[in-house]
Amino acid sequence: MTEDRPLAPLHNRVYGEIVYWITFTSCLICFVGPMFSMIWPDKNAMNPYFTYAMVFEGMTGSEIWMALYGDWPWFHSVWWNNFFTGDGFTMFGITLGTTVAVWALIPTMFVFAGNKQPQYVIFSLIVVFMVIFAASGIVRIG
């Protein structure tokens, strides 16, 4: 029966593989990041011992950031400025994973363009721009 199996289309494989490996990387970072946080608790954007205490006191996210980080600036500046700390590195991993649609759709668009399917290039572009707008913080809710 194996020879009957149709190969999944190239755009399927390109999109799937990129999402898969970036998500895998993101996951490994989320194992390693908290470990570094606990080994060097004072070399973090927020000390994990106090972070967990405050989370379980029911404090809001911005209250915790204000209390432990001193400020709640633009999201991406936090992981960028604290990249070599446990929680900054974890934040980078989460950011990588939550923007994965952008990194996967850009090469997928080239496959669609090569297959002369411009409608999917346009749909993909719309999704990419939506993620970029959302991740930039330009569009906010509430």
């Binding site: 149709p6 593989e17 989320c30 470990m35 011992y49 929680d87 649609a101 991740a135």
Partner: protein, 364 residues
Amino acid sequence: MSKWLKPPWLELNIMLLFAVVTYLVIFIVVTATPTPEGGMAGGVIWGWLVGFFIISTIIALVATVGGIGGGVLFTPFILAFTPIDSLIARGTGLIVAMFSGLMATGPVCRTGLANVKMCIFLCVAFGVSCFGGAMGAVAVAEHLGEFGEAAVRMLLGLVIGGLILYFIFGGKKIEWPDVKVSDKITRTLDLRQPFYEPSLKKVVDYGLTRMGWLFFGIMFVGTGSGFFGMGAGWAIVPFQNVIAGTPIKVAAANSVVLLGMGDCVAVWPYFMMGALVPILAAPWLAGQVVGGLLGALVLVQIKAGFVRWLLIGLMGFSCWGLITRALSMWNVIERPPHWMNGLVLLILLSFVMVNIVREFRNND
């Protein structure tokens, strides 16, 4: 070479190795390090990290097989059993909803079970409406108040209730709908995509219809998702199946891809509001990735009937939550206690298990 050293088992083993090593190192560190005054004890933090990872893995496994985001299971758990702020819970809930889907995206795309073209097309509707719904939530809260919010919940609950009945009595035509002629949008966008179905041992070339209506249906779901800040897989799967005639396994696979893609948009407003606490979100994310991969491997192999009964159970729990919440907001009933919600979930899962066993016995 052993199959455990080949993809995707190799990745799974690497992740499990990382889990064991990192949590072991953290355990050693917290037992050797004194807790700073005012902080949480290191052993307790370790317990939460490991506990969150294990629970997240189980949630992701169930959610991926059903084609839903894990948020529908995660949020009640967190709000019921921990004092964590609801905004942090919802932001982390979206991570839970999306990462099992992201990890499952690889296997279901590789096999051709998921239809990426269909997902990208529907993501345009989902992403835009999700944002619109979230903004609408603010407007409704200001103008219609609690009564309006309860009415929307009741409406959604009744829609889901109707779909459950359709799923129970629809039988085989739900699992493999017979679409004779594809509609114009399907033909224009070249949406058909045959795939090899291991449980049937044959290639399935399914038709699709009413894609325009599905586009608007997904907009409705996206609006609801953004409005209530909850996952949407429980509605995306039946909408694809009922409106467009998508086979249930393809609908479940598309749903996990679409949720992973669409939540890349929806999660950011929460992060921008400071709702991401990295050391809290990390074990949830890791568990979703491990459970999502396991779930995808199961989804590709299992029979469509299993997915249908699992969905009935999960949709039943959502329906119960939506209707009781609406009635309690109207002061018709008291809000059900957590033990009652747990009992309902247990009864529904028992119902699902009995029907799955019965179906497999009949097939044998």
